[in-house]
Symmetry: C2
Subunit: 202 residues, 2 copies
Amino acid sequence: MVDIDVAEKDVPGSRRGAGRRTAICQATCELLAKVGYDRMTMDAIATQAKASKATIYRMWPDKPQLVAEALKCQFSENSDVPNTGSLRGDLMALMTLACEAATSEIGEIIVGVMTAAAHDPRLAETLSQTVFADKAKMHVDLVRRAAERGEVHPDTDPALIHEVIHSLISGRMTWMLGPLDDAYIRHVVDDILIPVMTYRKP
Amino acid sequence: MVDIDVAEKDVPGSRRGAGRRTAICQATCELLAKVGYDRMTMDAIATQAKASKATIYRMWPDKPQLVAEALKCQFSENSDVPNTGSLRGDLMALMTLACEAATSEIGEIIVGVMTAAAHDPRLAETLSQTVFADKAKMHVDLVRRAAERGEVHPDTDPALIHEVIHSLISGRMTWMLGPLDDAYIRHVVDDILIPVMTYRKP
């Protein structure tokens, strides 16, 4: 176990606790944008964040876990979906947030990390668990509210929301099929999400 | 314009016409599997296919177009969907073929080319146009038959089939979310495709 004070004492301008955690995540995102996942080293992150490598490894045992948390920090600002009072309103809000996140300045980072994940099972698994697990509660709440209003069957699987939104947006980005604009958001909500969520098995 | 006989005369064992075209596509797929899209050169393809580079460039102006046709050759063996007599039967057959193609020995090649396409708009566009344009007719026929049986509205957009199947399968592969097995095929058909195709707008 590396003693934190020993690990930090030679690093000028190092920050402590939550502030340091944020600084390391921020440095990771900056480097992901600059050099991409594969070429980003823990040394470079340490230098950029003015932290010691020992501290970083104490907080995150490997690069996938650090990257997953760094992306999560960026995502989490937009993680609350407003309760709009209707299924369509909630799904429109959710798709809008998802498209905003994907087209934000970290959109390119996300595409880069996804690309790396295709060859790195550990990264793919960590990303799924860390970045997307948080969304599960949001989707459960959305379905519960819609069921209370009688808009969906109470047994509707909330995981369908993530499966559909995530696959469609990342497919459209990867294949450059078109912009993630208002027309696209309406298309996904009206032509795919609402049919899927409101379907009653014969 | 390069004269074909001049271009070929120094290449021992070169093949002519359709046979040569097939040989070049085959060589391209072998190299894609071996070294990936980015590291594959036109020189290496020429050597592998026993063809001159001039001949290859005469047939395909650039690497994206050659790769798109090479993948199309591999796909086209499975491009007919049986007419099963029901919407669900047709969609099950279609999803089964799509999952078989994705998990075949060229599945890895496809993932590799998709990864390259994320950074190469020309490749992404050529792949969309060449590899997937062929499927459009198949989807139009499927919807026409289902509309004739009264299972879907005649205005149902056949493009929804490709949008949903392609995004979901490639998302599941990229993120390593699970196998493309029978349970997954039934899930996509029953929980997503049938709801999307049979939805009647209020």
